[in-house]
Amino acid sequence: MKKIALAVGLVSLSIIAFAQKSSTDSIAEYRQMLQDGNPADLFEAKGEGLWTQKRGPKNASLEKCDLGKGPGVFKGVWVELPRFFADTGRVQDLESRLLTCMQELQGFDAQEIANTPFGRGEQSNVTALATWIAAESKGMKLNLPQAHIEERKMYEVGKRLFFMRGGSHDFACATCHAQDDKRIRLQDLPNITKNPGAGNGFGAWPAYRVSNGQMWGAQLRLNDCYRQQRFPYPIFGSDATIALGVYMGVNGKGGATVAPAIKR
């Protein structure tokens, strides 16, 4: 009760006295209130079900899917992605790797799913699966491999993409995400060039977006960054998106993951 009286007292101070610090504190308080009861749970449950469910033209489950630590292993795989896969000869992130498994094991057309708008049809299933698999690494530390030459090349490409200025507004990823203690409006912007920003940023997606009530995987997070950057449309699972994932994830090495998070 005393606490409430105090809060009311603070609010009744004039707008002028409403310091920026207290706005930031209030926002932090708001975010804290949302932590208990993250709707990402709903998508996590859906993803877990999809993993074992026999589906697709081949009527098979994903239980033999190799996400980097051998067929069927889902615990701890996400903190080591993106990584190089010998069978496809590509560095892949979680979502593009899931497409590979859905095509090889279940007989879906990976290209068709990649072309499906986010949140529709099989795309929403990919998001649910990614949410569950990320949750199976919750709290673990990011540990992306850099042993393979392709992984190291992708880091270098990712770095170049991160700093590339373009579009109608001359924005780069770095415009917002290369300095400490910056905000856009009231949202804190992680400095993705190093920890803790890189781990906190990269390690939070998939996340539930309260602003639109959608579950966003890392691919959609990047897609919307590029939209706001006024760039053209990054193709789902394309090498540019994966290279950026490698750059962010490697910079975040050692950072503990919180995905699936709840975000504005």
Partner: protein, 103 residues
């Protein structure tokens, strides 16, 4: 059919805290589509909670409850092993019931 709910029911002392997440659009009826046409309201309007089959709470919701709704309440006298059931029904007549065991 609607996706399942997530129900957590945790006993502490002589009561249990129930936290529910429901999967629902909760369309407000205030938004317009690309052609400027109002998207009709579509929302959960009745919620019923039961303890071991007996109704302990009902609620009515409008379209201003957030998408993928969260609900928290406390049942007196509930203990580990009891069954908590939640049912919702929306304004299109769709319904969903799920159950959880108090832990």
């Amino acid at each position: 059919m609607a996706d399942p709910m997530r129900i957590r029911a945790q006993a502490a002392g002589d009561k249990a805290t129930i936290r529910v997440l429901m999967s629902h659009e909760m369309e407000s009826g205030q938004r317009k589509d690309g052609n400027g046409k109002t998207i009709p309201a579509w929302h959960i309007q009745d919620v019923t909670a039961t303890l071991n089959g007996k109704t302990v709470m009902t609620a009515e919701w409008g379209p201003a409850v957030s998408k993928n709704p969260f609900l928290q309440f406390t049942i007196k006298g509930a203990k580990a092993g009891d069954k908590v059931g939640i049912t919702w029904k929306d304004n299109k007549g769709d319904t969903r019931s799920d159950e959880a065991t108090v832990t």
